[in-house]
Symmetry: C2
Subunit: 316 residues, 2 copies
């Protein structure tokens, strides 16, 4: 029997949103990094293409996996305007069985979700079991997604959040309404002081936290943004910490504080491990006598696995 050709589906942002609640993003990320650690997935480096005439750029995030048997690419342009830049993200998901496209989907919210779920996987693998205090720096949609993904991973007694925007009482009230353990801190350092886990969830290109405030055995997580050489923390922090990242073959050449630290004598060889290594127990755990730093740049495989999850949700 010949199977009819299945047309690729197209999901706009609202279509994706309709299925988001069905997704197990953390589970998808755990599956991905397990595959990567078992050589059942491949993560090529992301590529940045500058648009002609200084008119922005686009990043191509690629990935391929054997289980599920898929590959694809997310294209994410950054297009400066007279006011706010246009930033979008669309993923083309392909079948590695048939070579045909399965889906084209808006990946704006999926990118936020996978970024948070990747941090959550790192928190689950790197934070001490007895961690009780969580700090979140940033209060945008990325910070909120981080809270959602991480809040059930430890028995948090207290969740502190800081962002300049939370000086606004209404904005602060919206956050404290999310969870009874949340309190708004007066500064990033106030939020971080003595916290077991500090998640930096900003789009800042420069440090958002003085590292003196980081507790001796705390986990600090940091994400990427579009700004060239963006770093949410001082590059020197890498010399004082046990450093982990999402993918040791691709992250050091993209992460701003790693590039800057490397210029100052830090070596990417000192990275203790990445998520594939941690999930598959192929790299050492934190020493326990220094802070732990986890940096993600966001991988094409994360986008491909999130796209596959939403594809399953939309077609089942």
């Amino acid at each position: 029997m010949t199977k009819a050709i299945q047309a690729p589906i197209v999901l706009e942002a609202q279509d994706v949103r309709d299925h988001l609640s069905k997704l197990d993003a953390l589970g998808a990320m755990r599956a991905l990094f397990t595959n990567l650690g078992q050589d059942k997935a491949v993560q090529p480096a992301q590529t940045v293409t500058l648009l002609p005439g200084d008119s922005g750029d686009f990043i191509t995030y690629m990935g391929a996996s054997a289980e599920p048997n898929i590959f694809g690419a997310k294209l994410s342009p950054y297009l400066p305007q007279t006011d706010d830049p246009i930033i979008t993200a669309w993923t083309l998901l392909m079948s590695a069985k048939t070579g045909r496209p399965l889906m084209l989907c808006d990946s704006g919210e999926l990118t936020t979700l996978r970024t948070a779920a990747t941090t959550a996987l790192a928190v689950d693998l790197l934070a001490r079991a007895q961690a009780r205090t969580l700090a979140i720096i940033g209060a945008g949609s990325v910070a909120r997604a981080h809270l959602e993904q991480v809040k059930g991973l430890r028995d948090w007694d207290e969740i502190r959040v800081f962002a300049p925007s939370l000086k606004n009482e209404n904005a602060a009230a919206k956050w404290t309404a999310l969870d009874e353990r949340i309190r708004v801190a007066g500064s990033a350092e106030d939020a971080a002081k003595g916290a077991d886990v500090v998640m930096l969830c900003t789009s800042s290109g420069t440090p958002v936290l003085k590292t003196e405030a980081v507790a001796p055995n705390a986990l600090v997580t940091s994400i990427s943004t579009n700004v060239a050489n963006a770093h949410e923390i001082e590059p020197t922090f890498l010399m004082q910490a046990d450093v982990y990242c999402d993918c040791s073959t691709t992250t050091p050449s993209s992460a701003g504080e790693m590039k800057l630290a490397a210029q100052a004598g830090w070596s990417p060889d000192s990275i203790r491990g990445d998520l594939a290594g941690l999930v598959c127990s192929n790299c050492p755990a934190p020493t326990g006598d220094r802070p732990v730093f986890f940096r993600s740049i966001g991988l094409g495989l994360e986008d491909i696995f999130m796209a596959h999850s939403i594809y399953n949700a939309a077609t089942c």
Copy 2:
């Protein structure tokens, strides 16, 4: 007035075929390389990603242009099977004005067409005006597309074609029926002997023509295929010829005979020019006292411009 969001269109192979006759492929390639020469287009390197478990690869061809204001990527997987491999190609065309996708299209036939149109542009720019004899090595769809694109560029007296498959009388008759000037040659060397232009249009990984048969001032063109280090001509031919290529920043690191010749002491610096340089008169013409070799690897920009042409044809 708010403009309604335009959903991206999806074109399957048959949809593309329905519009192919409207395309001016050579004109699109000329516009592309003019833009590239004037810094109004950007050509990043193609990337090859090996699929897990030795199960094939996929190539990502990217490109960006200011006029039209577009960017995008073609994904082309090579998936070995027990019999013939699956090879597909799909292009995601994006607007650099809105950051939204315009189209996802099957690019199988468009790839054949752009490959032929790129060779045709090279023939137009590099072959002597008085060229009268054309030789075509290969007799598949790529060879046929080359014939179509090139047949009107010079006053050809004779068009010779050679492929092992043309020993079959029916196959040969189909070719001679295409144009009254066509005759089937007994060997590649027989076809090439004394010809002004020799187009290698095969998917061979190893040489298909003895270079002794190439006339002193002939133009030889060559294309890419999936085989690692594929070369339709002996790498040593590069030392004897005026060498040109489609894109001097990306072709030398991908083209098989260039990589092999470089190992034997040939330098990519000896490439005299590329299509952007030729179209914009920014590189020297052939010396006239040696054969000319033109090598294309196929550029993402070609795919993006072809996709934009078919998009215009499908939506106007």
